[in-house]
Protein backbone atom coordinates (compact mmCIF):
# COMPACT_ATOMS: atom_id res chain seq x y z
CA UNK A 1 0.00 0.00 0.00
CA UNK A 2 3.02 2.23 0.40
CA UNK A 3 1.81 3.24 3.83
CA UNK A 4 2.68 1.82 7.20
CA UNK A 5 -0.31 2.97 9.22
CA UNK A 6 -3.75 4.42 8.66
CA UNK A 7 -6.64 5.00 11.03
CA UNK A 8 -10.17 4.47 9.74
CA UNK A 9 -13.19 5.32 11.87
CA UNK A 10 -15.90 2.72 11.44
CA UNK A 11 -19.42 3.39 12.69
CA UNK A 12 -20.30 -0.29 12.69
CA UNK A 13 -18.57 -3.65 12.16
CA UNK A 14 -17.94 -4.41 8.51
CA UNK A 15 -16.30 -7.04 6.31
CA UNK A 16 -12.71 -7.13 5.14
CA UNK A 17 -13.96 -6.73 1.55
CA UNK A 18 -15.90 -3.58 2.46
CA UNK A 19 -12.90 -2.16 4.29
CA UNK A 20 -10.70 -2.86 1.25
CA UNK A 21 -13.05 -0.83 -0.92
CA UNK A 22 -12.61 2.18 1.42
CA UNK A 23 -8.82 2.21 1.17
CA UNK A 24 -7.12 3.83 -1.81
CA UNK A 25 -3.58 3.19 -3.01
CA UNK A 26 -1.33 6.09 -4.12
CA UNK A 27 -2.45 5.44 -7.75
CA UNK A 28 -6.11 5.98 -6.80
CA UNK A 29 -7.07 2.31 -7.11
CA UNK A 30 -8.91 0.77 -4.15
CA UNK A 31 -7.29 -2.10 -2.30
CA UNK A 32 -10.21 -4.23 -3.40
CA UNK A 33 -9.51 -3.54 -7.09
CA UNK A 34 -5.78 -4.09 -6.59
CA UNK A 35 -6.38 -7.49 -5.01
CA UNK A 36 -7.80 -8.75 -8.30
CA UNK A 37 -4.40 -8.49 -9.95
CA UNK A 38 -2.10 -9.27 -7.01
CA UNK A 39 -2.28 -11.37 -3.88
CA UNK A 40 -2.99 -9.21 -0.85
CA UNK A 41 -3.21 -11.09 2.44
CA UNK A 42 -5.19 -9.78 5.41
CA UNK A 43 -4.85 -10.23 9.16
CA UNK A 44 -7.53 -9.00 11.57
CA UNK A 45 -6.31 -8.71 15.14
CA UNK A 46 -3.23 -10.69 14.09
CA UNK A 47 -5.12 -13.68 12.66
CA UNK A 48 -5.03 -14.47 8.92
CA UNK A 49 -8.51 -14.10 7.43
CA UNK A 50 -10.29 -13.97 4.08
CA UNK A 51 -12.43 -11.19 2.59
CA UNK A 52 -15.64 -12.35 4.28
CA UNK A 53 -14.22 -11.95 7.80
CA UNK A 54 -15.69 -9.26 10.05
CA UNK A 55 -13.78 -6.22 11.24
CA UNK A 56 -14.93 -4.64 14.49
CA UNK A 57 -14.67 -0.91 15.17
CA UNK A 58 -11.58 -1.52 17.31
CA UNK A 59 -9.82 -4.13 15.15
CA UNK A 60 -6.18 -3.98 14.10
CA UNK A 61 -6.12 -4.86 10.41
CA UNK A 62 -2.99 -5.54 8.37
CA UNK A 63 -2.67 -5.95 4.58
CA UNK A 64 0.50 -7.50 3.23
CA UNK A 65 2.00 -9.45 0.32
CA UNK A 66 2.55 -13.22 0.41
CA UNK A 67 5.11 -14.15 3.05
CA UNK A 68 8.69 -15.09 2.16
CA UNK A 69 10.42 -16.21 5.35
CA UNK A 70 12.49 -19.30 6.01
Amino acid sequence: MGQSELEILLEAPTTVAALKSMIKLPNGETLNAASRTQTIMTAVDQEMVDDSAMVSVTSEVAFFPPVTGG
Partner: protein, 152 residues
Protein backbone atom coordinates in the same frame (compact mmCIF):
# COMPACT_ATOMS: atom_id res chain seq x y z
CA UNK B 1 6.68 -31.49 25.26
CA UNK B 2 9.48 -28.93 25.34
CA UNK B 3 9.28 -25.96 22.98
CA UNK B 4 11.22 -22.81 22.34
CA UNK B 5 10.27 -20.22 19.72
CA UNK B 6 12.53 -17.24 19.15
CA UNK B 7 12.63 -14.38 16.67
CA UNK B 8 15.92 -12.54 16.99
CA UNK B 9 18.53 -10.48 15.16
CA UNK B 10 21.39 -12.51 16.62
CA UNK B 11 22.82 -15.69 15.15
CA UNK B 12 22.02 -19.04 16.75
CA UNK B 13 24.16 -22.05 17.62
CA UNK B 14 23.28 -25.56 16.47
CA UNK B 15 25.46 -27.00 19.20
CA UNK B 16 23.53 -25.13 21.84
CA UNK B 17 20.20 -26.16 20.32
CA UNK B 18 21.29 -29.80 20.33
CA UNK B 19 22.34 -29.60 23.99
CA UNK B 20 19.08 -27.83 24.87
CA UNK B 21 16.90 -30.39 23.09
CA UNK B 22 18.73 -33.33 24.66
CA UNK B 23 18.52 -31.82 28.13
CA UNK B 24 14.81 -31.15 27.76
CA UNK B 25 13.74 -34.37 26.08
CA UNK B 26 15.74 -37.32 27.36
CA UNK B 27 13.61 -39.97 25.68
CA UNK B 28 14.34 -38.74 22.20
CA UNK B 29 16.27 -41.13 19.97
CA UNK B 30 15.85 -39.03 16.83
CA UNK B 31 16.79 -35.39 16.55
CA UNK B 32 16.36 -33.63 13.22
CA UNK B 33 17.81 -30.21 12.42
CA UNK B 34 17.16 -27.93 9.48
CA UNK B 35 19.04 -24.69 8.95
CA UNK B 36 18.29 -22.22 6.18
CA UNK B 37 21.05 -19.84 5.06
CA UNK B 38 21.16 -16.73 2.85
CA UNK B 39 21.98 -17.57 -0.77
CA UNK B 40 24.31 -15.39 -2.84
CA UNK B 41 22.06 -15.32 -5.91
CA UNK B 42 18.37 -15.35 -6.80
CA UNK B 43 16.63 -15.20 -10.19
CA UNK B 44 20.00 -14.80 -11.96
CA UNK B 45 20.99 -11.77 -9.88
CA UNK B 46 23.84 -11.60 -7.40
CA UNK B 47 22.45 -11.05 -3.90
CA UNK B 48 24.60 -8.91 -1.61
CA UNK B 49 22.38 -9.34 1.44
CA UNK B 50 18.89 -9.64 2.83
CA UNK B 51 16.70 -7.57 5.08
CA UNK B 52 14.10 -9.61 6.98
CA UNK B 53 10.96 -8.12 8.47
CA UNK B 54 8.23 -9.70 10.58
CA UNK B 55 4.94 -8.76 12.23
CA UNK B 56 5.79 -8.56 15.95
CA UNK B 57 3.35 -10.52 18.09
CA UNK B 58 1.55 -12.19 15.22
CA UNK B 59 4.59 -14.02 13.85
CA UNK B 60 5.51 -15.51 17.24
CA UNK B 61 1.95 -16.76 17.67
CA UNK B 62 1.88 -18.26 14.19
CA UNK B 63 5.10 -20.20 14.85
CA UNK B 64 3.56 -21.46 18.06
CA UNK B 65 0.47 -22.63 16.15
CA UNK B 66 2.65 -24.37 13.55
CA UNK B 67 4.46 -26.28 16.30
CA UNK B 68 1.04 -27.13 17.81
CA UNK B 69 0.03 -28.63 14.47
CA UNK B 70 3.23 -30.72 14.27
CA UNK B 71 2.71 -31.91 17.87
CA UNK B 72 -0.84 -32.92 16.98
CA UNK B 73 0.40 -35.10 14.11
CA UNK B 74 3.52 -36.67 15.63
CA UNK B 75 4.61 -37.72 19.09
CA UNK B 76 7.32 -35.11 19.65
CA UNK B 77 9.54 -34.62 22.67
CA UNK B 78 10.75 -31.16 21.81
CA UNK B 79 10.84 -28.47 19.15
CA UNK B 80 12.99 -25.38 18.75
CA UNK B 81 12.29 -22.74 16.11
CA UNK B 82 14.61 -19.75 15.74
CA UNK B 83 14.10 -17.20 12.95
CA UNK B 84 16.41 -14.25 12.42
CA UNK B 85 15.32 -10.75 11.38
CA UNK B 86 17.17 -7.64 10.25
CA UNK B 87 20.18 -7.41 7.95
CA UNK B 88 21.84 -10.67 6.89
CA UNK B 89 24.73 -11.44 4.54
CA UNK B 90 25.13 -14.35 2.11
CA UNK B 91 26.01 -17.46 4.07
CA UNK B 92 24.40 -16.21 7.29
CA UNK B 93 21.95 -18.49 9.07
CA UNK B 94 18.30 -17.44 8.71
CA UNK B 95 16.23 -20.15 10.32
CA UNK B 96 16.61 -23.16 12.58
CA UNK B 97 14.02 -25.87 13.10
CA UNK B 98 15.08 -28.62 15.49
CA UNK B 99 12.76 -31.45 16.46
CA UNK B 100 13.21 -34.41 18.76
CA UNK B 101 11.12 -37.58 18.77
CA UNK B 102 11.53 -41.19 19.84
CA UNK B 103 12.59 -42.24 16.34
CA UNK B 104 13.93 -40.56 13.24
CA UNK B 105 10.81 -40.89 11.05
CA UNK B 106 8.70 -38.59 13.18
CA UNK B 107 11.57 -36.14 13.64
CA UNK B 108 12.23 -35.89 9.87
CA UNK B 109 8.57 -35.41 8.99
CA UNK B 110 7.77 -32.92 11.75
CA UNK B 111 10.86 -30.86 10.90
CA UNK B 112 9.88 -30.72 7.23
CA UNK B 113 6.24 -29.85 7.97
CA UNK B 114 7.22 -27.04 10.32
CA UNK B 115 9.54 -25.58 7.64
CA UNK B 116 6.95 -25.93 4.87
CA UNK B 117 4.27 -24.21 6.96
CA UNK B 118 6.69 -21.53 8.12
CA UNK B 119 7.61 -20.67 4.49
CA UNK B 120 3.98 -20.09 3.49
CA UNK B 121 2.12 -19.12 6.69
CA UNK B 122 4.42 -17.18 8.99
CA UNK B 123 4.55 -13.40 8.49
CA UNK B 124 8.16 -12.81 7.47
CA UNK B 125 9.24 -10.86 4.40
CA UNK B 126 12.63 -10.73 2.69
CA UNK B 127 14.05 -7.75 0.82
CA UNK B 128 17.21 -8.53 -1.13
CA UNK B 129 20.05 -6.26 -2.22
CA UNK B 130 20.88 -6.79 -5.89
CA UNK B 131 23.23 -4.86 -8.22
CA UNK B 132 20.34 -2.57 -9.34
CA UNK B 133 19.11 -1.75 -5.81
CA UNK B 134 16.62 -3.61 -3.64
CA UNK B 135 13.60 -5.78 -4.27
CA UNK B 136 11.07 -7.62 -2.12
CA UNK B 137 11.32 -11.34 -2.66
CA UNK B 138 8.22 -12.89 -4.23
CA UNK B 139 6.56 -16.01 -2.88
CA UNK B 140 7.10 -19.23 -4.87
CA UNK B 141 4.17 -21.38 -5.91
CA UNK B 142 6.34 -24.47 -5.31
CA UNK B 143 6.50 -23.54 -1.60
CA UNK B 144 2.72 -23.23 -1.48
CA UNK B 145 2.37 -26.64 -3.13
CA UNK B 146 4.69 -28.24 -0.55
CA UNK B 147 2.71 -26.78 2.36
CA UNK B 148 -0.64 -27.74 0.84
CA UNK B 149 0.55 -31.32 0.35
CA UNK B 150 0.58 -31.79 4.15
CA UNK B 151 -3.16 -31.09 4.22
CA UNK B 152 -4.02 -33.76 1.65
Amino acid sequence: MYRSILIQADDFSLDRALTELKAQSGLAGGLCFFTGAVRNSNLDDAVGGLYLEHYPGMTERQLDQIVDEAARRWQLHGAIVVHRIGHLKPGDNIVLVAVSASHRGEAFEACEMIMDYLKTNATFWKKESIPDGHRWVEARSSDQAKATAWDA
